[in-house]
Symmetry: C2
Subunit: 193 residues, 2 copies
DNA sequence: TATATTCCTTAACATATGTTAATGTCCTGG
DNA sequence: CCAGGACATTAACATATGTTAAGGAATATA
């Protein structure tokens, strides 16, 4: 478990005191996932936060057997069923490792308890949500205002290398199109260039 | 300015102390908007939070002259350019009153300063972001997994009465379709029933 | 009251994307 | 080494939705 790495990720979002860090570390549980293993399944109740240290995780909705990829998590981000934790309801989303992955897991309720003792941890939580919101809004603007071709190119910039590591139908789902359509777009791009 | 109403909205999200409330009130500036007036224009720099007390406000992106409505704000919510405030960048979004509206406005930076003195205000901010995130996620799931007809019906449930108050092309834009298509959907719904 | 403006509806047409299906390649496990 | 499965590509076809255009109702303005 790369403590130094985790510390650097967190304190880049909001500075944390040595005391808070000491208490926080106590909550950490390392976790390994094989390719295609689930971190969280739709409908399950959860009480854990995750920080990805290696690999890739996707989040997706499932409606009538169809999966809709919402986003991909890369190392240094938090593949965590936030809404389920915050509202204490079963998760509407599934989280699945697309590559062999390593994470640290910690209890959300215990983390929350630490807020009382360490104000900086509450500020950290606020900082995480703020970052999330900013990213999300940027992403939304792209998805709504651009066509699929443009969004495909933005995907390649946003997640460099990822394209080579996962099947294209996951990317298509992320873009809101069929794999066939993505294939057409790719063919078009090659030809145009 | 309906202080009691504002207090009830805020303290429903997170309890605030009388001292914090006293300091917070000092920041409030009432504001009136006519129909079609702008609260925030795309590209402008901002330093204000808003709480809507009466009327309706829309947020939208603008790309190459096309407007894409992101959502509508109803009384008791915060038509605030969050990303612009948090990242201190020009707003990518515009906020416009669709009906004569009343708001209270307060300085984001002064609000933030109060966090030091009143921890409950930082918790309030966290609570607001949490609520926002939960709503947003639910909305996203709908938009991605449902067809436009279903989303139109969800719109009518989510914003009762609103349909009668604003032009249909704003609803169409919110649904991600053309006004013509919305018209077809409406015709179909009448016929089916 | 008459006229202009805004907005909704409908139709005809164009187009992009989904669907189904066939083919080929690569990779894996027996 | 071979057979099967997973995945990507391509084509033919179906379909939903956008586009353009016209007409009409409602509302606002002179």
């Amino acid at each position: 478990m790369k403590k130094a790495y985790i510390f650097s990720v967190l304190s880049a979002i909001h500075p944390i005191t040595v005391e808070a860090w000491a208490d926080l570390q106590e909550l950490f549980v390392p976790q390994q996932l094989n390719r295609n293993d689930y971190l969280v399944r739709e409908g399950s109740r959860v009480n854990s936060c995750y920080l990805l240290t290696e690999g890739v995780v996707r989040v997706f909705y499932n409606k009538e057997g169809n999966e809709y990829n919402k986003t991909f998590f890369m190392p240094g981000t938090f593949p965590t069923p936030l809404t389920a934790l915050l509202s204490d309801t079963p998760s509407s989303l599934s989280f699945q490792a697309l590559l062999p992955s390593q994470l640290i897991k910690f209890s959300y309720s215990e983390f929350r308890v630490l807020f009382e003792k360490h104000r900086c941890l509450e500020s950290l939580m606020l900082g995480i949500l703020e970052q999330l919101w900013i990213k999300k809004e940027r992403h939304d603007i792209h998805m709504v205002t651009n066509d699929a071709t443009t969004n495909y190119m933005i995907f390649r910039q946003t997640f460099p290398e990822l394209e080579k590591l996962i099947p294209q139908y996951h990317i298509a789902s992320y873009l809101g199109i069929t794999p066939i359509q993505l294939s057409r777009i790719r063919a078009q791009l090659v030809q145009t260039r």
